[in-house]
Amino acid sequence: MSVHILPVKVYVRVFVALMVGLAITVWVATQDLGTWNTIVAMTIAVAKAMVVALFFMHLRYSSRLTMIWAGAGVFFLLILFALTMGDFDTRWFQVKGW
């Protein structure tokens, strides 16, 4: 990972983006979009997390290995979510059966 020094401007712009993201999240929460509320809130949160990871944590300038490991954590977490919810959300099918 070469010593990559970013101009202060980049950091400030990232900071502003995060603050705007926060404002949007709060505003969206006051609107009644039904189930869309959560989906929108989560996409904004993921976007903010990506921005923090790529710029503040220098992931964008890190080696491919670091990026793979950053992705691995989230990938295996999603496996846990997907397969466990696969159980909880399909339990009520049981009554109808094959």
Binding site: V3, I5, F15, T25, A29, T30, L33, F56, M57, T66
Partner: protein, 221 residues
């Protein structure tokens, strides 16, 4: 400050500085993977119980103060900025700026914990801490205790991480001050920065999931 590269501390097991830096960075990211899964299991419980008792979660979430939560999110984002600038100034060997930014980050972190303290103490007064004398007067609060169990588990674990972050930063400031005369390795500050940004990312997810659900304005989702 004319100090050659060689005098930077190089572990005996490493061949050169570049290998050491890369090793510490990858090592830190692997540690952050364990933290992702450590918090992830709690998010798993949150997803399961919110899908089981949506109404109770919305009612219980109504008890949380959105403004304080939002302020806390802003504080943590700002502390992330000051930490990033601290890392940048460490890379540029400006140890005075570095100490200044770290102290700013610690200030914001401390403010975050103070706000958390007020939030927690108000919950205790309203008997919202899960346990024997938990009573929730809200409308459909049958499983509100589940929400508060998760609320205290997640924000409590996050709070402990913030506290640990502050302690590391105290050690860091002392080390930077003590070694101010020579050119310093930016690895320690870089790793603390990675840790701190991770703590910020966790809160970025916690805030919408815990505070911003339920009937705020007219929203029900």
């Amino acid at each position: 400050m004319s100090v050659t590269e060689r005098e930077l501390e190089l572990g005996h097991q490493f061949e050169d500085l570049e290998q050491q830096t890369e090793a510490y960075t990858v090592g830190m990211w692997v540690f952050l993977v364990t933290e992702v899964l450590f918090f992830g299991a709690l998010f798993m419980a949150y997803i399961v119980y919110r899908s089981m008792y949506p109404q109770d979660f919305f009612a219980a979430s109504g008890e949380l103060d959105i403004a304080l939560g939002g302020l806390n999110t802003a504080i943590l984002i700002t502390s992330s900025l000051t930490m990033a600038l601290a890392v940048r100034s460490a890379m540029l060997d400006r140890w005075k700026a570095q100490i200044g930014y770290i102290l700013a980050t610690m200030g914001f972190a401390f403010a975050f914990l103070v706000i958390k303290y007020f939030e927690y103490s108000s919950k205790f007064e309203h008997h919202l801490f899960p346990g024997e004398h938990f009573d929730f007067k809200g409308e459909n609060g049958e499983h509100a205790e589940m929400f508060f169990s998760l609320y205290f588990a997640m924000t409590g674990l996050h709070g402990i991480h913030v506290l640990v972050g502050i302690l590391i930063m105290v050690a860091l400031v002392y080390r930077t001050w003590r070694m101010r005369a020579q050119r310093q390795d930016y690895i320690p500050i870089e790793l603390t920065g990675l840790y701190w940004h991770f703590v910020d990312i966790v809160w970025i997810f916690l805030y919408p999931l815990l505070y911003l659900i339920g009937p705020l304005g007219s929203g029900k989702g």
